[in-house]
Symmetry: C3
Subunit: 137 residues, 3 copies
């Protein structure tokens, strides 16, 4: 059995937004006894990742590394229609991925103590980002 | 409920092949009302990724970055049995991953407008690549 | 229908542990005819990946690249509470991911001949790592 829900978030440029509570709320309302919560962004220039939820400097350091791995305005890029952050955002999206899934049981996500679910905006400016959450149980 | 299908694609060396229509066709034929389409390659030297489907230069630039992240014939590699592209292909596979999943409903994949599903060949030469598609609903 | 199982592994510092047989055993015991085996680590400083199971030098070379992509003790890191490997471990976790899923049918994982499922410890020292396995069918 599957349930599907649509969410949308307004981002404010590069950086990450915690969405754990939003996903947990859908799981809490579900009648499914156990299964998987799958989260999917319908875009190619943002991403989703699970990372440490205690010290915000972890996510700041991940931004530092993403900038190193996929530099803005790299002279090797051919795709630059929308500016220096355009191709870098697609490359960051490849590295973070655009979906993730988390097991749940008895109305609760089975995340570890230090795990949070984050929406990573990979573009310099904010965007409205659509998410599909599928609960499979 | 789950359905499984087997597909195979012949690649022609490094580069990406769009397989969105192949996955969409399986979803269109399914009686499942909604759920997830999971795509899995049975190999360790190719990968799957969702990326921009409009400008082919995005995928060319991703190849440029993959070559930078996992250079062919890097002197640090110990594993080179099958040539300079051998270990590089395994490393690219770690970065792209070998599976992905996309939500569907009412016989249609819920991809965003600019999202396409691509099979990435990470070896220099072409190979026959086997894929398992699982629809969970 | 979903089934869930809990596993735990003691790691011995940086490096990978094959857990294919542990996941295969759960699939073999399941009554589900076909579906997906989802494996999830409840931590942000280790990861899961499918890679080549024949030549151990592949996984040694992946360690070499992970060290290059996310160097220990990089001067750019702000997060270093637990030592030089702390932030590097979170960054490696972003690249490998903390979950994966493999199709199964008739009690067997549908892995390719050369694919193995590995738990990657990203910290320098060993840890007890908790895993949730969800079978969806």
């Amino acid at each position: 059995m599957s349930e599907q829900h649509r969410l949308a978030f307004n981002t404010h440029g590069r950086g990450s937004t915690e969405i754990t509570a939003d996903i947990a709320a859908l799981v809490a309302q579900s009648a499914l006894p156990c299964g998987l919560a799958h989260v999917f962004v319908r875009h190619t220039s943002c991403g989703l990742a699970i990372t440490e939820n205690a010290d915000a400097s972890v996510r700041r350091d991940l931004e530092t590394l993403l900038q190193r791995w996929a530099p803005d305005g790299d002279p090797a890029y051919r795709h630059d229609l929308e500016g220096d952050d355009d191709m870098a955002a697609h490359a960051r999206s490849l590295l973070t991925g655009c979906s993730l899934s988390v097991p749940f049981a008895d109305g609760r996500l089975l995340l570890g103590t230090w795990q949070g679910i984050y929406l990573f905006e990979h573009r310099s400016h904010g965007h409205r980002r659509e998410i599909v959450v599928t609960l499979n149980g």
